[in-house]
Amino acid sequence: MRYRWSTGSLTWLIHRITGVILTFYLIAHIYVLSHLKDPQSYNEIMALMKNPAVKISELILLAVVLKHAFAGLRITLFELGVSTKYQKSITYLMASLVALLWSIGAFYFIKEAL
């Protein structure tokens, strides 16, 4: 079914998708953590983490986490009584905050990788 997207429904969809991605990430995260039992496997996994593909996906992960967290914050603000009149402006404010924080994070990520 086709239906016109609006700021609210798009934000909701992004919130959902990032949530699903984070669920899968959590499984991968626990897998990695549970395999850090001895020095040898620790070194093996840490070598894997140096892979450029992993580095890039970490940048994507940062964007997903920030987007999801700020979408949740936006909804929480409304639940606490912030006027829904500002729902569109708050969406844009949150998007700019995500962009800003991601840029700062990405700067340090890349600095460390180089």
Partner: protein, 237 residues
């Protein structure tokens, strides 16, 4: 100024094959005319079998709600000059279609019944009517303007996925009575709306606000209901 418009209408013909087809009609309308005028013109002069609901034609009865250019609106309130030259018209989404643009609203009205949409007050009635202060009336004024056209509930993605969900319209109706100073059935009504398919299913998608022909801030009312339900201890669901 008169202009030609192409009305692309999704037809549903229960006794024909194929069941669903898209028909295109080219009609001339002036800038003061609305989508409903176009539909009436088509029915009168091109295809008499085109079926749609209409009654007051002035945005009060809520009969002519349909999906116009991908968004639910009242056909009688949408000027053609505000749309593109190609006007795509479909029935309201996610409700069973009876014919063409006429949908079966039973499901929608059933939800309305679930929130007990009537004044409940066991106190003996006064000699004249039950009075209300202007300030108390202001609290429910916005929610009273609802014409129950069904645009909001059928634009809600949660309703598309969960047909048991009460939906914005029924929740707005619940607000209208819960915040009415003359009503006494607070607990009973809160019990009815805070189930698994009730109040807590609203994820603030804001689609209902986008489509409401009466410009009611429905999400604001639902959020107020949520806070009210929490204060009263109705957090289950």
């Amino acid at each position: 100024m008169e202009r030609f418009y192409t009305f692309k209408i999704k037809r549903f013909l229960p006794d024909k094959t194929p069941l669903i087809r898209w028909d295109e009609f080219r009609i001339k309308l002036n800038s003061m005319e609305r989508v409903l005028d176009g539909l009436i013109k088509i029915k009168e002069s091109i295809d008499g079998t085109l079926t749609f609901r209409k009654s007051c034609a002035h945005g009060v009865c809520g009969s002519c709600a349909m999906k116009i250019n991908g968004k639910n609106r009242l056909a009688c309130q949408t000027l053609v000059k505000d749309l593109t030259e190609l006007v795509e018209i479909e029935p309201l989404p996610s409700l069973p279609v009876i014919k063409d643009l006429v949908v079966d609203m039973t499901l929608f009205f059933e939800k309305n019944d679930r929130v007990l949409p009537y004044l409940i007050n066991d106190e003996p009635p006064p000699e004249r009517e039950r009075l209300q202060l202007p300030k108390e009336q202001e609290r429910i004024l916005e929610s009273i303007t609802c014409v129950m056209c069904g645009s909001c509930t059928t634009s809600c993605p949660i309703f598309w996925a969960d047909k048991n969900y009460l939906g914005p319209s029924a929740l707005l109706k619940a607000y209208r009575f819960l915040f009415d100073s003359r009503d006494r059935a607070t607990e009973q009504r809160l019990e009815a709306i805070t189930g698994e398919h009730g109040l807590w299913r609203c994820h603030s998608v804001f689609n209902c606000i986008e489509v409401c022909p009466k410009e009611i801030d429905i999400t604001k009312h639902i959020l107020k209901l949520k806070r009210f339900a929490v204060k009263k201890g109705f957090t289950g669901g």
